[in-house]
Amino acid sequence: MIFRTPLSGIDHPQMEADVVIVGGGPAGMACALRLAQLIDEHNKKNPDWPLPKENIYVLEKAREVGQHCLSGALLDPRSMRELLPGFEKEAPIDAEVSKEAVYFLTEKSKFKSPITPPPMRDHGNYVISINKFVKWLGEKVEQAGITVFTGFAGSELLVENERVIGVRTDDKGLDKQNQQKSNFEPGYDLKAKITILSEGTRGSLTKQLIGRFGLDQERNPQTYGVGVKELWEVPSGRIAPGEVIYTAGWPLTNHEYGGAWIYGSKDNIVSMGFVMGLDYKDPRLDPHHVMQTFKTHPFVRQLLDGGKMIRYGAKTMPYGGWFAILPLAGDGWMLTGDSAGFVNSQRLKGIHLAIKSGMLAAESAYEALINGDFSANQLSSYQSRVEKSWIREELWKVRNFHQAFEHGMFEGMIHAAIQQVTLGRGLHEKYRSHAGHTRMDQIGHLPTGGYGREHMLGPAKGDGKLTFDKLTDVYHSGTKHDDDQPIHLVIHDTDICNTRCTVEYGNPCQHFCPAKVYEMVEASDVPNGKEIHVNFANCVHCKTCDIMDPYQVITWVPPEGGGGPNYDGM
């Protein structure tokens, strides 16, 4: 297997830029739009000293804006109202939240929470398709005169004298052996005064930045969940537009953190999914299977029965909270949205925070452009903006929320209740946490059988109507990659997979990957009779492998730009 590695001895075309925003999701697009607004205002006031917008670029690895965006999604409109007052009139909003309920499920029945806990109250929020929403936001950005390069990924961070000086885009036209094909085009070196990383969850350049500057020191390690989502079209009358349902409990046990969402959208479309904490212990657990099992609960079955699954996807989300957020700025760079860790772990919402962080980063970028200073000192104004904003206010209250669940659901609930009455403090000022992958048990330590969780272990078979095997679901993600390119899931040492991991953890990558990228294939010349095989073309860019691999030998890097899922309507 040949993995994607940077080529040496290649000339990369250079391009000068003022600001490069990597990633055209909610954070990146809000940042670009806010920056355009500020420059427009400036130019109106200072006609003889205008700032150009031509050299501000957004890089987006998807073929079209929004295609790699996946979320529930409920939008808390707070930041959008600041960015574009009255945005509701024109934005693609599917429904306003009209009804909400929280259920605790057991295998056969359900118990409704008599009151909806405050963090789950969603009145005033909107049910949206994040794909459609970002597509619309992207149009606004382009109308504002900012160039969005779709089909281009940021593949390498350019660093000089400890300063980030831009990014290199992906090399196009490499074959399986990392050799140039006839259509080879080297990546561009976009030399930027300011590089803003808005890559979303577990960003690949963000990972380079963290490694290079040790950004993860002195804070909690980031913890993640993976959301597996299906979009359904159901017979009319099953769920009202704007109806919001959360569940906890079955099929999970007290050993795992997670739950489901079901949102009624318009036109009988239902968004449903299961978020699974990536800090579970049993390496055989399969989040995609959990979701399939969840759908067989009578409550869910009767909702979906006779309907049709129309799209599938998966994505991780960082919910380590305030104490896991990375430093936000340095020499020539800033971090926004999920890349920095802006998610409210209690409400499991981050879109509004991503938008707000993008806006605040834009304000600091604008000041830096005016002052002609792109140093850490200048850009640190972004850090103070965030700390003075409602982002901090909102996240501080839930600063210890997710950490409290490290020892199971019941203990977590008790801590969460104490935190609720102590304004987020709980029993300690700062709850510590551990990276999720460190909590995985070795298979030798597990009881044989499934420990009452057989239904979550191993691959789902699917009945083809209500439940699906992984490959059928992957087909519905619309994911596509040119097969003739190097593998973009870079495994630094496949010997670990074929020897140690097989024995110690039973190759959990086969199970946690929601797109069947990893397979252990029978082979005669390896000690355990099976060797790892990477079906990279199935990848839906969720980053679970990069996060959850127990040896941390997998690095997700962008494949050739344009490849990836097609999350239309998700």
């Binding site: 399986k176 129309i310 490959l471 059928t472 992957v474 087909y475 519905h476 619309g478 596509k480 990659h481 097969d483 003739d484 294939v521 029978e522 005669s524 095989h533 079906n535 073309a537 097609n566 239309d568």
Partner: protein
């Protein structure tokens, strides 16, 4: 006079592209339903034999649009010749097979006449007086109905495998062939083709194969592909594979069938050790007969197979090869 449906058939170096017959099958049905007369056009140099071959199909007339400048394909010359011809004959509908060559010139041709092209359709139906074409979206997950709102001539192309070429009706007598001399302005042909060459590693066009023997991961090891090759040779078919095989480099990528490879519709498709994930099935479900051999009785391939054998392909395939050889001698 009745409306005309014109099929532009494809030939290369005097050899008919078989996919053209599929388009003619569709065109015969459309002509019958719309009470139109069906005509065909062949474009190229020295194309008389191809025109004669097409004339055997039940249709009203075959035009041989001939010019030395059309000897080697260029989009410029083809568009110039067809534009003149279509403008003078005014067919209501122009149908073409969705081949690489057609993909190259058809958009330009439609645009040159200020018309719309419905490309890569997989079927049609008549809705009142309107012809509605079906196109696939989202890798075949959705089908979209589209129709023309512009004035004729209307241009449409059909995906390979949408119709059965062997179902084309032959005429009682050969249709007349009319030679059309294309008037071409040499200066307008901006492309000068050089020698035609084949890529060194013989590229295969599986869409042309009548019999395909396809292998999946059940074949286990690269050396076992020889078993399947022997069967393909005995049957006079081509070898193909599902993605894991081409992924491992055991067969070249141009032999991959499925959503990320080729879409085929052979007469016979033998699936050896292929489980039948949806990604593979979309590439071969148009096959007339599907025979699946798999050791897993629950493999989804059996849901679409016409004949299924649950068993060990390493026992079955050599025996089958032997029987085929015997039957052929």
């Amino acid at each position: 006079m009745a409306d005309r449906v014109l099929v532009v058939v494809e030939q290369r170096e005097g050899k008919l592209n078989r996919v053209s017959l599929e388009t003619l099958t569709a065109a015969q049905a459309i002509a019958a339903e719309t009470s139109s007369s069906l005509e065909a056009a062949v474009v190229g140099g020295s194309i008389h034999p191809v025109a004669q071959e097409i004339a055997k199909v039940r249709l009203a007339k075959v035009y041989a649009i001939d010019s030395p400048q059309l000897e080697r394909y260029t989009a410029d010359a083809y568009v110039a010749a067809l534009k003149q011809f279509i403008a003078s004959k005014q067919p209501k509908l122009v149908l073409m097979p969705h081949t690489y060559q057609v993909r190259d010139f058809a958009p330009k041709l439609a645009a040159a006449l200020g018309r719309t092209l419905i490309s890569d359709a997989i079927g049609y139906r008549k809705d009142g007086a309107t012809l509605v074409f079906t196109r696939q979206m989202f890798q075949g997950k959705f089908a979209a109905d589209v129709s023309f709102s512009c004035d004729p001539p209307h241009f449409a192309t059909f995906q390979a495998g949408s119709y059965r070429g062997d179902k084309v009706e032959m005429g009682a007598n050969a249709a007349p062939v009319e030679k059309v001399a294309a008037q071409l302005d040499g200066a307008a042909i901006r492309v000068k083709p050089l020698e035609v060459f084949k890529e060194a590693k013989q590229a295969v066009d599986l869409t042309q194969a009548e019999i395909i023997v396809s292998v999946g991961r059940g074949i286990k090891e690269q050396k076992n592909i020889e078993l399947a090759k022997a069967l393909a040779d005995a049957l006079g078919g081509e070898i193909a594979a599902s993605r894991p095989i081409c992924d491992s480099g055991w067969l070249p990528m141009d032999r991959q069938i499925g959503s990320s490879g080729q879409t085929v519709a052979p007469k016979l498709y033998l699936a050896l050790g292929i489980s039948g994930a949806i990604q593979h099935i979309v590439g071969m479900k148009g096959a007339r007969s599907i025979i699946a051999i798999n050791k897993d009785a629950e493999a989804p391939i059996f849901e679409i197979a016409d004949f299924g054998v649950v068993g060990n392909l390493f026992d079955i395939v050599p025996a089958l090869t032997e029987e085929v050889r015997k039957a052929k001698t």
